[in-house]
Symmetry: C2
Subunit: 140 residues, 2 copies
Amino acid sequence: MSDLVTRLRRHNWRITPQRRVIAETLEGSHVHFTAEEILERAVERMPELSRATVYNTLNEMVALGEVLELTLDGRSKRYDPNADHEHHHLICEGCGLMKDVHAMADPVDWLPGDERHGFSVTRASITYRGLCPECQAAAS
Amino acid sequence: MSDLVTRLRRHNWRITPQRRVIAETLEGSHVHFTAEEILERAVERMPELSRATVYNTLNEMVALGEVLELTLDGRSKRYDPNADHEHHHLICEGCGLMKDVHAMADPVDWLPGDERHGFSVTRASITYRGLCPECQAAAS
DNA sequence: TCCTAGCTTAGACTATGTCTAAACAAAGAA
DNA sequence: TTCTTTGTTTAGACATAGTCTAAGCTAGGA
Ligand SMILES: [Mn+2]
Ligand SMILES: [Mn+2]
Ligand SMILES: [Zn+2]
Ligand SMILES: [Zn+2]
């Protein structure tokens, strides 16, 4: 679980100033930012940074396997720098708060052979949904 | 597991001709259509049907809990009439083919209490990914 | 019949993301 | 150093998915 820039460098992928700022912005906070949120924050450090570079860079980091792209609602994609650390997500249906979680079992093991339809099943992700403490309090 | 129109009627929700055509189109084939795919097919039966009505109607059926909205890739949402039948999805990363699948256990039970961050966790869905038989053959 | 509430419509609008063409920057060759 | 090549960045046009608005339509009740 080394830092994202270090992991990216291993792919002989040029770490330009723009890419560094984007990677550091993504990894800096432990939430799951959208591309626009990353742009908004990265521009504070590099005002001339363009929207296209943010989108291009995020897509390249996803293609390299060092960042995960999450499409948990129908809105913007979210980017997760935690790609070297298997986990799932828990989302509040009230406010959208998202937490990383770790299940006790690998869901791939829980899919019987006769439910696989001849597929080779390589991975599985679980999306848990519920209400966070604040939204539970607000609802009662 | 009664049909979708029957389930919708129980909510004293008016079944207009447009809504009936949309519900029947959605349920007719056993795939997971996008809104545009439903419009395309429904328009063959009702040429004056509008895009807005398809979107409005799908959103209402989701709000009634009788249709599931799936956002499995970052593209269009897909609509699943199978809301009264708990299941998960298996997706081919080659061609996008999607199958309904049934796991052997409820993933909510695999999430330890200390991983719940105080949330009340009500449901979980699993997205399995892999390659379908055709895409495996094409890749080898 | 008329009235009302809800439903449908076309098209404008918004949000998210991709593409293009030109400018720019870095690295290697000479 | 200068030249060349290759990859990167940029602004803005474009594409797609979906929502909103205002007007018209329809069904059912008074
Ligand atoms: Mn995460
Ligand atoms: Mn399904
Ligand atoms: Zn919440
Ligand atoms: Zn396939």
